[in-house]
Assembly symmetry: C2
Homo-oligomer: 318 residues x 2
């Protein structure tokens, strides 16, 4: 730790709705070196009615950075995520499209008990439909050096609210959000469809039920019809109850990918997936139905993006 | 009541999952006359583990028919709905497609403390996708005399699980279920989209938000994308929070109708809506986007169907 703190040049914070993470970072080759990390509370733990919200956020920040700042006073800090939302510590107003992904153009700085904390702005669009990202722009910034120059790459970031972003030469051109993860939880855990299901059998291959769902994810099928067929198929012994969750997953991810395939020329663009192995594997399988393959992003794009944004803002050297 | 009971020729029961209704019926012109009615518990109130399920169902039946049977012993009875499901009193096995909608071909009789109770069978299909109805077949039987002869009518029965049935000359040809009502409840009451909403303003016109949702119900749009746009549009001040529920409704019903329009030639068939004014009005509005109009079914199709089924089974005369 003594050696580590001497090498440290930046504290990066990924501060979201339910969780916060802090990273102690040093320069590295290709990517920054992660020297140490901490976990803390998300912004939801601070009530909107708290009479002293500054103190409440400083208390969380203390758990995330205090010992590092004590060992190496004045270490620069940078944050991304919902900490910059209206419900966060200080609202970092959104940037508009198209926007460069790393630079000092979109930060709002809050004065904390541990020094200045610049918060990276999210991105907002209004046309043809409204949408926002806050946090993913930093992951995208970390990914930029991995992307082919001169081409538009489609970056898919699966999660509760999956983001589909188009990036070219370090510039975010467009993005859309699909709430497939949230719909999965609603259908699997709270609907009559999920109630027809049963826990997976030991050793069961997720691909069997997932493919069953993919088969039913045609682009003209409203989810209201297609999801109910899962339930009816269990009652008719066409689908084992143990495969219901995978079938819901296949139907939702398949419909999401079919929607994109109807609107974008998937075959013409490199596709990169950002996320954990389980979810990205499902998206790769759904994309393969459309004859395209996707590569996986490095798993440290968040710290890469925090570092690159700090470099762009002049907080640290290259 | 004394006069009423003398005219009565049938007790019809619509016995569902959460509610039961009993109807005291006499012959009428066009439709049976409703002399009296009762409400009682649905099948969910009887535990699957009850050691004497017969006694538990008889206790509910007592609340529904006892005084009528006491005043006029031996009145024939007939039931439809989930009372004939595997979780009901006695399983009435499903009929297959195509099936005539009124007749004695599909009943299972249970011996009750108040005499024989024939239960009308539901209908099941396995191809091209599995689906079942139980209860709606009786409403359809009641509707048959209202439908044009020699043509296939599309009957839409909105609800938690909306049924789309095709009927020709008294025969049920096909049907499909859309869980739009259940999805509405999940999205409006339990999702991040619903959380962006607020209660309607006093006197607010439901059509404003509903049309906003209809506008976004294109047939290539996956619900996971389109539903999230509702939330983003509120945050971007493009949609008032008070219209979120109507927008969700418009998106879901619009997507459901667009799905049918992609698969059926809606303009070639009469369309009839069965249900209450609020929901049927929404479906009429969504159908109008596809250039077709729908007529409303009489609101007593359930008792008409119970009566016609009893006639078909020889329990009462015409």
């Amino acid at each position: 730790m003594t050696n580590a703190i001497e090498a440290a040049r930046l504290i990066g914070l990924d501060w979201g709705t339910t969780h916060a993470r802090s990273y102690l970072l040093a320069p590295g080759t290709g990517a920054p070196r992660l020297l140490d990390q901490r976990a803390g509370d998300g912004i939801l733990s601070v009530s909107p009615d708290d009479p002293d919200r500054d103190a409440a956020f400083n208390a969380i920040l203390r758990t995330l950075v205090a010992d590092w700042q004590q060992a190496s006073p004045g270490l620069p800090m940078i944050a991304c995520g919902m900490v910059g939302a209206a419900q966060g510590w200080r609202e970092a107003s959104y940037r508009s499209l198209p926007t460069p992904l790393a630079g000092d153009g979109g930060m709002t700085t809050v004065d904390t008990d541990f020094g200045a904390l610049p918060i990276i702005a999210g991105v907002k669009k209004s046309r043809p439909n409204a949408d926002v990202i806050r946090g993913e722009e930093t992951q995208l910034a970390g990914l930029v050096p991995e992307l082919a120059a001169g081409r538009t790459t489609l970056v898919v970031m699966p999660g509760t609210h999956t983001k589909w972003a188009q990036v070219r030469d370090g510039v975010l051109l467009d993005f859309d959000t699909a709430m497939s993860g949230e719909l999965f939880a609603l259908l699997a855990d709270r609907s009559m469809v999920g109630r027809a299901g049963a826990p997976p059998e030991p050793g069961q291959d997720w691909r069997t039920g997932f493919d069953w769902g993919l088969d039913r994810a045609g682009h003209t099928d409203a989810l209201a019809f297609a999801a109910f067929v899962i339930r009816s198929s269990v009652l008719d012994a066409q689908l084992p109850a143990s495969q219901v969750r995978d079938a819901i997953s296949g139907l939702l991810i398949g419909s999401e990918v079919a929607d994109r395939a109807a609107k974008l020329d998937l075959a013409s663009m490199p596709i990169v997936l950002v996320g954990g192995a389980e979810l990205t594997g499902r998206y790769q399988r759904a994309l393969a139905r459309h004859g395209v393959s996707a590569t996986l992003a490095p798993d440290d794009v968040t710290i890469r993006g925090l570092w690159r944004s700090a470099v762009g803002a002049g907080l640290v050297g290259e």
